[in-house]
Every structure is written in C-alpha cells, then in structure tokens.
Amino acid sequence: MTEDEDFTTDVAVIGAGPVGLFAVFECGMLKMRCHLIDALPAIGGQCTALYPEKPIYDIPAAPELSAAELVDRLHRQIAPFAPQFHLDQQVVALQRAGDTWELVTSRGIRIRARAVIVAAGAGAFGPNRPPLADIEDYEGRCVHYLVTERARFRGQRLVIAGGGDSAVDWAIALADEAAEVHLVHRRERFRAAPESVDRLHQLVAEGRIQLVIPYQLAGLEGDGTRLSGVLVKTLDGDQRRIPADHLLAFFGLATRLGPINDWGLGARNGVVPVEPATCATSAPGVFAVGDIAGYPHKLKLILTGFAEAAHAAHAAFAFVYPDRALHFEYSTSTGVPGRESA
C-alpha cells in the first residue's frame, strides 16, 4: 500500500510505546512538533501487544495501573500537542537529507525531521512466524497470520496452529465452511476462554475438527506457490503429514529489530548505544530512548524511558532550533500549551 505523502516536522518519533508517547509530551513542552510511526495498528507498543491487562506498580504517583490504562493516560497527556500518528507501518529507511533526516515507511510515506527519537523497544511487532523453510513463498496465499476474508477458506483443507484464543476461535468459526480443520497444538491444554474450549471439544467429538496433539509445526510441502501439506512432529521427533491447502498460524506477536540494524547506529543484539545524559546516538540529531537505548547500568524500566525521553527532547532542541537558546522552564510555570485548564 502506498499513500505517497510527504511530511515535514520537527521530530520524528519511531515507536509509539509508552516511552515514544511520552517523548511527544517532552518535545511538545519545548514547542517541537512530532510525528510518530509504529508497526502496530494501535499505540502502546508492548503494553498493548503483550500485556494490556497486567498491572504495573512502578509508575511514580500511580500505585497500580494496567498497561492499557497507562497507554490511555499517556495518549490523553499528549493530545494537546496533536502529534500525527502513522500506524500499521514500519520505518524502513532513515537517511540524512541535507540538514534534516528523512524517514521512509513501509507504506511509502516520507517524513523529514530535524531530529529523530528512536523509541523502538525490542523492535517492530509483527506476526510471530514459525521458522519453517520457504514459508515466505506461501505467505498471503496459503500461509496466514490473520483472517481477513473467511470466504476464501470455503471447501478448503485447513491446518490451524497454536493454542490460544485466535487458534481455537478460528478453528470453531471455520469448522462449518472448511472441508477439513486440523488444529495443531503442542499440549492438551489450550489457553483460551473456557466456553470456547468446550465448544472446540464438542466439534472434535462431532468429527468436524481434528486435534493434532501433541505436535508442533515442522515443515511445509508444496510447489512453492500452492501448499499441499503441512508436516508436524512430536517432541520425540515422530513426524506426520497433514494434507492441506492453507496453514493458519496463530502464535501471537513477535518483535524484529529489522532495518534499525542498517541505520549506522551501531545496534548490537537489539541495543543502540547512547550517551546517557543526552540519549544521543552516534548519528547527530538521532536519539534513542527506552528499551532500545543502551549504556552501562541501564535499567530497562518504563520510568527510566520517561526520563530518557526528557533528556532526548532537551538535546534534540538544539537540532530543531539551532539559533535559539533553550530557556528551561517547569510545567508548573508554563502549563501545557494548548491544554484547556480544568
């Protein structure tokens, strides 16, 4: 998909997790406008993707708060600065363009910014793909990580893999229209809603879903375009082949550092080294904050990331307003520009 749009802004923030969101606040207080880019379709990063319901206890002045609530509050906190979000797309290139940086996203959007704050956590979230040989050749056609169009599975032989709600719910939902549904899981227990698991076992008893337990995915069979079978094996190595037209793999989300390794920031094992007091990377005008930023004795905490966001914003000011001295002010004196007072 190409939206073919160009933007110019003060600061581009890569990653809309809690730390990226708070970076918008810190930049906003210094009158720097931000664009935020994230691979997920929703803001919040890991807090949204991995543990929205988990309570967090170490956010100052919030004795207990779910990860989802934390994200919601940050969203409200930055609303006065009207950041522009570019979600569901990954930054695929970051390059110097004169005295600015140019970012290109996977949807073809170009953003020019005076400074860049990389708040990419453990990398961009995408489907947790099973590491099967040649799987890329079948993706989108015969291998799926989400169901967008269930009609395409009518009369087809399906292998569904995974043990969570998505795997169980889609096995149930597609049992009617598919020719065959095999559900591959590594153990007896499914981590899905109890009523779904009951329904699953009912359909298994009726012979409309075949359970393939305890197996995990081992390989794909096909001509490189169309799938003909899925290989599965037990932990003891006992292998079998299930004839299939489609594989639906539901193993949740996984992060990939992806192109960040190629941006000349010295990333190593998922960490971009920074100067701790400014969060400056080796590239002038590019800062890294949160889990992806590394320095000796780094504490990977959301609260550390918040402080890093403040440091990075203050250091980025010199790149956005090179001719202006930064007059330091507290939010108690300035208020929040654009925010209606209560």
Partner: protein, 104 residues
C-alpha cells in the same frame, strides 16, 4: 559463584559466571550473547527460550502455567524447553547446561 555452561546457536560452548539470584536470561544478556528477551523478564513473551540439558531439567522448579502458556508461542520446542527468565540461579544449579535458541 555458580557457573552456567551455555551453548550458542552456532555451537560455541561458553562458561558464564552467574551470581545466585540472577536468572539465566539476565546472565546471558549481561554477557552480550544473542538473546532477544523482548519483555525484559516480565513473563510476557517467549524470546528467552532456552533448551535445558535433560540431566538438569528435573532439578528445576517446574514451569508455572503462565510459563507454559508462553512456551506455546515458542518455536522449536523440546521436552526440556524453558524460559531463561524463569530459571533463577542458585548454588545447586552450579554447572547447569543450556542451549540458546535462534533469535528470529
């Protein structure tokens, strides 16, 4: 100080010093070895998946249901797969052997 024998995905054998009370994941990360450990030990992902030597597996505390649920999302599981963040080092585990798993 207990020692962890770590074999990397490439087959390199290493001996790591592990303070008691630190997790295998923390020790592996502290030694700058390839392991994503995306959630940082919050028991919210499976990217610190390690394969424990069968001789050592039964000496560990059994995995919690939460850990089992996350192992469901790991690939290349074995009967001695564990999450590195859930193995806390103590004197009795001195000499434990684990293999790392591919990062991607």
């Amino acid at each position: 100080m207990p020692i962890i024998h770590v074999t990397t995905v490439e087959g390199e054998a290493l001996e790591l010093q592990a303070d008691s009370g630190r997790s295998v994941m923390e020790v592996v990360k502290a030694n700058d070895l390839p392991m994503l450990a995306a959630c940082g030990g919050a028991l919210a992902c499976a990217t610190c998946h390690v394969i424990v030597d069968p001789d050592w597996y039964d000496r560990l505390q059994p995995p919690s249901e939460d850990e089992e649920d996350l192992l469901d999302t790991a690939h290349g599981l074995t009967s001695t797969s564990r999450l590195g963040c859930q193995i806390l080092m103590r004197e009795e585990l001195d000499g434990i052997r684990v293999c790392l798993t591919p990062m991607d």
